[in-house]
């Protein structure tokens, strides 16, 4: 009866490594990729948080900020930069959440609308505007669905969603029930976007619901393999919880919408946890498609089949997974031309321990993930959310801003090298689809550690550079003013549809200046369930004028416009062929 321990040890060594148990969120242990040699050029942008000074006092509520029992407390909300009163200045709309234990009557937090006072400050006009609604808000998208010239808002909730019609007099009207777009009270909606999918000139509406959340049926932290993060008991999911879904509402043009999810093939798509929805023409066939960043499930590319239906082709086109075919926890998405080839590429943010995606558009709607080559794989330690491809230094090359924040506040007490509050990231675009991390040089607003979620991009002070509005869990927002000392030129372009929807959502504009071309799209929602300025911003470097504009309108029309002097705000109206100055009230 003598067996040497060593012999037994050898047998044990031969045991096959069993595959790891699935975890609540899709990630991997990706190490930071190597950084290329720094360009050595100073970054002329400093992002400074002026939210407090500007009067943005709302505190975001999203469950318990010490420990989260359920996933509904973790995802935060979106923010919007919209010019609701058409004075040429961006106003701020913030979506607020709630908490599981509720609030005393009259003390529940609400969404907030802040009107831009054109002097760097904002005033809270929520109540007067009719937007003081409490509930567990999530995302926001904007678009002029009734083509009356005023931007309307759609807000998603855990519960019924809300469509606000902008009356044009500084107030909004809740038209949800009449419009028929509320969804059901059991739904937890996340992303949404206006989209004119049938090219009838009226904005339709796509709404995603993250997952079917039933508190009574959801296990508690630590109660299963999907409820653990590196040994720490945390809220369960999204894996293990019932998948979400999506709906498509067709705008009848009379203030009502028709649910066409079944007929359009949207309902048939299943098995995903959708977040941000983005409506742009990805395969350049003149019809607006949908891309949905999905959490811990394949992301979706809903191709517009030009006949009122969509086909989900994310896997076939390389947009569902990363370059290795691995599922990721997609949060936010930004569209922009990464490499200057005139095609819209995508950047998607993901969970920590993973890289974002830099999906390069190869044409015909086929994509490849070039994140390593792009230099964007150097900070996998952060959970990425809001993201924007914007030219922060106006040098004519897109830069990238990413808002970060972990989902587990419990990590703050664990001291294991991960933190709930994380700094932001800024990458300078070097051209050719390559970036370098300049976060350390991009100002105190970037270094600040918050647990951020949504982010919206736009020039709130109309000084010719892109600023950033960021949602922060459990505290006020950040309004990162861009103090840009580059002296580079710029132009801001507002597109106005006539045959197309008036907001021109889905339009793609190309500007030519100093021998180079830049392409950008008007999107109703992007970043993380947030709304950017509907105007398009182009940095022009040393060029003092734009030589030509070209617009692919969502109606399918392609139109060229003559050039314009740099450093101004212009409007391109579909079919007019002329460049107009945007009126900016002082």
């Amino acid at each position: 009866m003598k067996h040497g321990p060593a012999a037994i040890a050898c047998i044990l060594l031969l045991w096959a490594m069993t595959p790891a148990a699935p975890q609540g969120v899709a990630t991997r242990n990706a190490a930071p990729a190597a950084r290329s040699a720094a360009s050595g050029q100073p970054f002329p942008v400093s992002l400074v948080d002026v939210a407090e000074r500007a009067g943005l006092a709302m505190v975001f509520v999203c469950g318990n900020e010490e420990a989260k029992r359920y996933i509904v407390e973790a995802n935060g909300s979106g923010v919007a930069l919209v010019d609701f009163d058409n004075d040429g200045w961006l106003d701020v709309f913030l979506v607020n959440g709630s908490r599981l234990e509720g609030f005393d009557a009259g003390s529940a937090p609400t969404n907030r609308l802040y009107r831009n006072q054109r002097d760097g400050t904002f005033v809270d006009v929520t109540r007067g505007a009719g937007l003081a609604r409490s509930g567990w808000g999530n995302g926001v998208s904007a678009g002029d669905y009734d083509n009356d010239g005023f931007t309307d808002l759609f807000v998603t909730y855990w519960g019924k969603n809300v469509l606000y019609r902008n009356r044009g007099d500084g107030t909004f009207e809740d038209v949800t029930d009449r419009a028929g777009v509320s969804g059901s009270v059991e739904q937890w909606s996340s992303g949404s976007t206006f989209i004119d999918y049938d090219r009838d000139g009226k904005l339709d509406l796509f709404v995603a619901s993250y997952l079917r959340f039933d508190r009574a049926k959801t296990p508690l932290p630590g109660s299963g393999p999907n409820c653990d993060w590196k040994g720490v008991p945390v809220f369960c999911g999204p894996r293990g919880l019932p998948f979400g879904g999506a709906a498509l509402y067709r705008n009848r043009g009379d203030g009502t919408f028709e649910d066409v999810s079944e007929r359009a093939g949207i309902r048939a798509v299943s098995g995903y946890y959708p977040f941000t929805a983005l409506a742009v023409d990805l395969n350049e066939d003149g019809w607006t498609d949908l891309y949905v960043a999905c959490d811990s499930s394949p992301s979706l590319f809903l191709r517009n089949n030009r006949d009122g239906t969509f086909s989900e082709i994310g896997i076939e086109t390389g947009l569902a997974y990363n370059e290795h075919g691995i599922e990721q926890a997609g949060m936010g998405v930004a569209a922009g031309d990464l490499d200057g080839d005139g095609r819209l590429d995508l950047v998607k943010t993901n969970f920590s321990g993973d890289y974002p995606n830099a999906f390069r558009n190869l044409g015909r709607g086929i994509f490849e993930d070039i994140v390593l080559r792009a230099g964007l794989a150097v900070n996998p330690q952060f959970v990425g959310w809001g993201v924007g491809l914007v030219d922060l230094d106006n040098d004519g090359r897109l830069d990238l801003f990413q808002a970060n924040g972990h989902v587990y506040p419990e990590l703050e007490r664990q001291r294991r090298g991960e933190s709930y509050r994380q700094p932001r990231l800024v990458y300078r675009g070097l051209g050719g689809g390559r970036f370098e991390d300049v976060s350390a040089a991009a100002g105190p607003g970037v270094a600040a550690r918050m647990s951020s979620r949504g982010a919206a991009f736009g020039d709130f002070d109309n000084d010719g550079d892109v600023d950033v509005l960021v949602m922060n869990m459990g505290t006020r927002p950040s309004l990162l003013r861009n103090d840009n000392t580059s002296g580079n030129h710029w132009i801001e372009v507002k597109l106005e549809g006539t045959k197309s929807n008036r907001s021109a959502i889905g339009a793609v504009a190309t500007v030519e200046a100093a021998g180079s071309r830049q392409t950008a799209a008007v999107a109703s929602q992007s970043s993380y369930i947030s709304q950017n300025d509907l105007r398009l911003h182009f940095g022009l470097g040393r060029a003092r004028r734009v030589e030509r504009f070209r617009v692919r309108w969502p109606s399918g029309a392609v139109e060229e416009f003559p050039g314009a002097a740099a450093d101004g705000f212009i409007v391109l109206v579909e079919g007019s062929g002329i460049v107009q100055r945007q009126e900016i009230r002082r």
């Binding site: 009866m1 037994i8 040890a9 790891a20 242990n29 076939e316 075919g325 321990g353």
Partner: protein
């Protein structure tokens, strides 16, 4: 073993065993007799006698240990564990009792308890490299990557002439996310075994992971020269060339890797990527079909087949392959992911 079963055995074996039980009250003598039965593979009788010895003297180590060991050697770990636990308590400084207890618990999927028993065994024999190896593997399986890396490093510190210890340390450091330590171990391996294909490959791989692509190439070449029948460096070099867009050269290396190991699915998928990038979708389909045939549970060939057919304009087949890929993922959701590490629970 249940009392009823023992009673039946007792009835069957009654004359011989009963005689011993009737005349012996000495645990030593009972244990000696039991050993004789065990060596004759008469395990039931042996158990009865050792149990009796343990009843007479509850901390009688030979009975406790041998009962445990007998069950262990018959792979009856559930029965072995309590006796080995008692043996460990009766003689806390006995290495074998603690080692076997740890092994039994691990085999019972009580990994954390098993590792604690092994820790106690290791404290008794701090230089036991073999134990450190198995502990590192088990820590890894439990996602205790930091502990796995630490013990693998310790094993290497004790015994620096076993190449497998280097590879264990490299892998454990990699799992723990410590690429620097993985690279350091790989460098030591090359220094100690300069002609080893595996050591050179490991160093090349970890240099690459740290973005030092040019620096990794000489080691890759050395690995390929050192052992032309070792497929990994050929695959890795080919895959690296695909990423760099050097598709035709990549094909040469990938085909070599496949010549050595025809069932290497990852190499076939990479070969398909090279063909696809080089504008040869039909060749990509051929490579992927073969990969899918060789590894029918792997979703990756079907994923790439879906993308290839889509590029070829065959959306129906693209859709069909996509569905297969999705189904295979559902059947094994963790196959493509790395689990997150966690700290070892020091206390039960």
């Amino acid at each position: 073993m249940t009392g009823l079963l023992l009673a039946i055995v007792l009835a069957l074996q009654a004359p011989e065993v009963e005689a011993i039980l009737a005349r012996e009250n000495d645990p030593e003598a009972l244990s000696q007799a039991a050993r004789g039965f065990a060596e004759a593979r008469r395990y039931a009788e042996a158990e009865l006698l050792w149990r009796r010895a343990a009843e007479l003297r509850p901390d009688f180590f030979p009975a406790l240990f041998n009962l445990g060991f007998m069950h262990f050697s018959r792979e009856r770990f559930q029965d072995a564990a309590p006796w080995l636990e008692r043996a460990s308590r009766a003689r806390p400084k006995d290495y074998n009792a603690r080692y076997l207890l740890g092994t039994a618990l691990v085999r019972l999927d009580r990994r954390e308890e098993g590792l604690r028993a092994w820790r106690a065994a290791l404290a008794l024999r701090p230089d036991d490299v073999r134990l450190m190896q198995v502990m590192s593997v088990e820590y890894s399986k439990g996602r205790y990557y930091t502990e796995a890396a630490a013990i693998a490093r310790r094993a290497l510190g004790v015994q620096a002439d076993d190449p497998n210890l280097y590879y264990l340390a490299i892998k454990a450091a990699q799992d723990a996310g410590d690429e620097g330590a993985a690279l350091q171990a790989a460098r030591r391996a090359v220094k100690r075994f300069p002609e080893s294909a595996r050591a050179n490959f490991e160093l090349a791989f970890h240099l690459y992971k740290l973005g030092r692509v040019e620096e990794c190439l000489p080691y890759l070449r050395k690995a390929m020269e050192a052992d032309p029948r070792y497929e990994e460096p050929f695959f890795f070099h080919g895959d690296l060339l695909v990423r760099q867009g050097n598709n035709d050269e990549a094909v040469r290396y990938l085909e070599k890797a496949l010549e050595i190991r025809p069932d290497y699915t990852a190499a076939r998928v990479s070969l398909a990527r090279a063909h696809l990038s080089a504008g040869r979708p039909r060749d990509a389909v051929a490579a992927l079909d073969e990969a899918a045939r060789l590894d029918p549970s792997n979703p990756q060939p079907h994923l790439l087949l879906s993308q290839t057919y889509f590029r070829l304009g065959d959306e129906a087949r693209a859709g069909a392959e996509r569905e297969i890929s999705l189904r295979l993922r559902r059947e094994n959701p963790a196959v493509l992911e790395a689990a997150q590490g966690r700290p070892f629970p020091e206390k039960p």
